[in-house]
């Protein structure tokens, strides 16, 4: 009896053969104990590869490695955000051809909204000041630096250079503030984050 090649037997169980080859091989393998054993051994080897590749390499402290990678990924994403935000135009183009009536109307509306907002804000800030507990811990961020203070003590991380302004400034209610800087001369990216605990 002529047996199929070992290459074909290796591909038989994985389904990589053409349907015709597969059909021919199936007919042979069903009636041939020797080839059936071969196929069975390939099946066992595939299971071993699958099982053993799920193992973390021997000696690697996964938790520590994963924490390090997570931190590096976050810094990488922060740097990438800073680069894409850097040089993005902040202002929309000039408005052209606005009729004077529309301009007056817009100005009036803006004035009314601003005054209303300001009056409301003053009232709210008075209410908040009355409700605010003494000396809360605050996280602060501006284009010049990030920091935190509790009324008596203050920690501030300033911009790496006096002429460098932050490309991105973030503050979160879970107690963190961050600023990312791009040095125009060197292209160096600085990511400053503070966390309140």
């Amino acid at each position: 009896m002529k047996h199929p090649s070992v290459e074909k037997l290796a591909l038989y169980d994985g389904g990589e053969l053409s349907w015709l080859d597969h059909l021919i091989l199936r007919r042979h393998v069903t009636g041939c104990a020797q080839c059936q054993a071969e196929v069975e051994m390939f099946r066992g080897a595939a299971v071993a590869v699958r099982e053993e590749t799920e193992e973390i390499p021997a000696g690697v402290q996964w938790d520590r490695l994963a924490a390090e990678m997570r931190a590096n990924i976050r810094v990488g994403i922060a740097a990438s955000d800073a680069i894409s935000a850097y040089g993005k135009p902040n202002d929309a183009g000039p408005v052209q051809g606005m009729p004077w009536r529309m301009a007056v109307l817009t100005f009036g509306l803006v004035l009314m909204v601003t005054v209303g907002y300001w009056l409301n804000a003053v009232k709210k800030s008075e209410q908040i000041a009355a409700m605010r507990p003494p000396d809360p811990v605050v996280a602060e961020a501006s284009e010049r630096g990030v920091g935190m203070s509790d009324g008596s003590k203050e920690l501030v991380l300033q911009s790496p250079k006096t002429n460098v302004r932050a490309a991105i400034v973030t503050v979160s209610t879970v107690g963190s503030a961050g600023a990312r800087y791009v040095d125009e001369d060197t292209g160096q990216i600085t990511v400053n984050n503070v966390y309140v605990e």
Partner: protein, 188 residues
């Protein structure tokens, strides 16, 4: 200056707008990091390079955070990016470097993390796999990992490895034959 008062966490600021995306990114990293690291590690063969490439793959994917809206698609895309990053790395360097973990500058090893029996068993299994994979060429190993471990269809493996279906079939067959013979020798 933006300010958040910690005594009132309900207050929102403009700085919070990216919080959801950050949470989504963290979950995504948490869910897939082990799998991605292992794919890359099995292809490049050493921990230090696998660490760098895993980070690179995640950063590539997370730079386009709109992809995370469909987690299944994002996971599939991440797998592709991971294997492509590893293959590109090997192509660029034209080498396979199986650095022993003990010889890393700062080994990420913990001697006391596992009990000795479990640790020995894990080490034996990992070493057996690594020795077996070491017998394969880079292409055979990549094809085997993608096809038999990651269950990537052969056509997709061919696309990722930038070669024909016939070539991929040959890589897969050779890899399976070599690995099977290696296991048989080990048993004997």
């Amino acid at each position: 200056m933006l300010t958040v008062y910690m005594s009132d966490p309900a207050r929102q600021t403009a700085g919070n707008l990216g919080q959801d995306t950050a949470d989504l990114q963290n979950r995504f990293i948490q869910e897939h990091m082990r799998r991605v690291f292992l794919i890359i590690y099995r292809i490049v063969g050493n921990v230090a390079d696998a660490q760098d490439l895993t980070q690179e793959a995640f950063i590539k994917v997370l730079q386009r955070s709109e992809q995370l809206k469909d987690p299944e698609k994002a996971a599939h895309w991440l797998s592709r990016i991971a294997s492509n990053t590893a293959i590109d790395f090997l192509r660029r360097h034209g080498r396979v470097n199986f650095t022993e973990i003990d010889s890393l500058v700062e080994p990420l090893v913990s001697d006391h993390e596992y009990n000795p029996e479990q640790s020995l068993l894990r080490r034996e299994r990992a070493e057996r796999l690594e020795d077996g994979l070491r017998l394969l060429t880079v292409k055979e190993r990549t094809a085997l990992i993608l096809r038999d471990v990651e269950d990537v269809p052969a056509e997709e493996v061919a696309r990722q490895m930038n070669c024909s279906m016939a070539t991929v079939r040959s890589h897969i067959a050779n890899a399976r034959i070599k690995f099977r013979r290696y296991l048989e020798r080990k048993k004997a």
